[in-house]
Symmetry: C2
Subunit: 440 residues, 2 copies
Amino acid sequence: MPVGMARRSAVSLVRLGGRAVGQLLCGGSARLLRTSAANTSPSPGFKPEKVAVVTKTTRYEFEQQRDKSEEELTQQLALKGSSYTGLQERHNIHTYNVEHIVKSLRSEGIDVRVVKRGEYDEEVVRWADAIISAGGDGTMLLVASKVLSKNKPVVGVNTDPERSEGHLCLPVRYTRAFPEALEKLCRGEFRWLWRQRIRVQLEGTGINPRPVDLHEQQLSLVQHSQAHRIATMDRQHKTGTLPESSSEPSLLPIRSLNEIFIGESLSSRVKLKSFKPHVNLLLHRASYYEISVDDGPWEKQKSSGLSICTGTGSKAWSYNINKLAEQAVEELLMIGKSLTRLDIPLNPEFIAKVTDEYNASLVFGPDDRRLFYSIREPIVNRVFSSSRQRGFANKVCVRSRCWNACMVVDGGTSYKFNDGAIATISMSEEDQLRTVVLEN
Amino acid sequence: MPVGMARRSAVSLVRLGGRAVGQLLCGGSARLLRTSAANTSPSPGFKPEKVAVVTKTTRYEFEQQRDKSEEELTQQLALKGSSYTGLQERHNIHTYNVEHIVKSLRSEGIDVRVVKRGEYDEEVVRWADAIISAGGDGTMLLVASKVLSKNKPVVGVNTDPERSEGHLCLPVRYTRAFPEALEKLCRGEFRWLWRQRIRVQLEGTGINPRPVDLHEQQLSLVQHSQAHRIATMDRQHKTGTLPESSSEPSLLPIRSLNEIFIGESLSSRVKLKSFKPHVNLLLHRASYYEISVDDGPWEKQKSSGLSICTGTGSKAWSYNINKLAEQAVEELLMIGKSLTRLDIPLNPEFIAKVTDEYNASLVFGPDDRRLFYSIREPIVNRVFSSSRQRGFANKVCVRSRCWNACMVVDGGTSYKFNDGAIATISMSEEDQLRTVVLEN
């Protein structure tokens, strides 16, 4: 395919198997067209005209917002064994990396908008041809959460590699060598990866359509106090918002990139005017619910909660719920050995090998169309039992029997999910998120 | 030893190995003296003069407190698939069982005070010769939480055996046959069991000495709104209360019967006046902390939390954190089989056997003087690692690196445990709880 034409040259369309295959030229139009049916085939070059860079809030910025003087904060941190200098350093590293990204983009003639996570909304998504998440995995999840189209590319750059795993981000070396990444994107030396996401349909009473943004609760005092008011106003203005307590099934306006987690939480039911703000509430009660997998029979369960994840999410919380420690594997093999009298090896290398293979089996591909459900700490006793503790599915239905449960999407947004509410959790191709895979 | 003397007859003291061994006669003085050095040896008869019966709050009573009309409540419950009749039934069963207990006690000439859990306090503990918990395991934990002496007997009666496991209660048959239980107690046909409990010393900043009673948050709107005010007043009136933010080590006025759980929670940091009361907050962020076992080296960890349990608690939350499902055991043995080519059995009976033996190894005796620590969902990656996921210890020190962590005692009381605070968790013989073991 020819390259190197002038800006705004026509994009030639070739129809392939009923789908339009577009050729995007370096310096050409920013319109993106799907390449081929395969989710991860090599691509024509990609050069957007307008890029939004969404940045995380560093802990330094968060502490600044609390209006403490520098001496006050330094002293507080010192007492805790942390250091003000340390916070500043991390902040500076992040800021430096963001500037590097922005500079690289602008020197390619790309129109860049830098947006703090608190300012990031649907208008930014509409404006941008592509969105870069500048932070860690949490920022990437936030960025993805507002992208409902499967055609808008999202790219994650890990701006603090020493602190963040960056599973959802480009390989770490591109953080300081971003022009290289841009170059490869332009030349088509990358692959698109359409990550499957989860959709949720809710029905029944006890649904609070006013989601609470859990990240904002952590990171911004001002914004959090507005969160509920905004959510209330949004509800009235948005299309497709849910009525107050409806028994009609409603599709939630979110798509989960990692997982849906359903669990009991304590909520404060009283007028909190009289309290100091530091009310500590904790997820601790067992969660009661009924579950039906792939239209199978309903089963009553009691556990610490239910996780339903995507392939992307199979490396995240779901992984930590299900993985085994070598200590447990060793003890199990010892029992097996003593019961069978077989010569099962118990040396550290073999234990590690079995453990690694077991844990690796928990991870599956981001483009896999299946869900993976896991029951966290199932409670099995005279009253409750469960057949399978985890497995793949195409659809999972959950009926809440909880006092005060939440449905948490990607650890960032929380919906009330109380006694009687029914969630139908599934995947649809149109919910995919378009991301980039660069070779390391 | 002679039996059957008149009331208030002298208790003869025999010194045995430096400890006073008392003989308590049926109908005699209610003073209790330790029997012998062994924690569970057969006992002389036990007949208290004054018994407090502490009752749980049923869900029916809870809903009543919310001032709904019966029709309103019925309709609400029906929409949720629950039933008003069902709630009433459970309530009636509980109430019937409580009346049975009280009647049995009074017909033996025992002075009985029936106390709702919300009214249960140190004055009741001082007044009573023995305390009966009439509810489930949760009620038993509450009752025990206010008994700091190792000499005050606590007996649990399960008033809703169909709903509650009743691990900490008398065998289920005594619920409807309580006079039999009393008879056996009187005749000495029982054993004392001194259950070891955990004590916590806290130091460093970030400590909120105003504990929050989590059960009250669930069960009583009025009481919860008072909880913080009461806790504040208590702090000023109680002996041994902690100063506001001290760096002096302070022994918390609690003893844990099941476990201490340390974990991150989200707390609302803003003025909540503007919110509707339904703010859902969730334990979801990873917990950061450092841990030192038995004065060993400090290790930085990241996980879903840390559980430190007693022998009693080894059957509770700790068990659910650590137990394995047959599905996991089967998959592990399959991997072992394929890697070794040994003829490891994979039939359901063998899988069940290995699983049961593994899970049984997680449980240990209530009178065991050791703690058992477990790291819940440890996060092991480039940044963090951990050596042992669980084990026995005599002492565990934890230093919080959390934003908003709680230390939760027996799932019922919560202390703030934030960045910099250090908890020293251990056991002392004087912290035992005196309970009763009746043969079934």
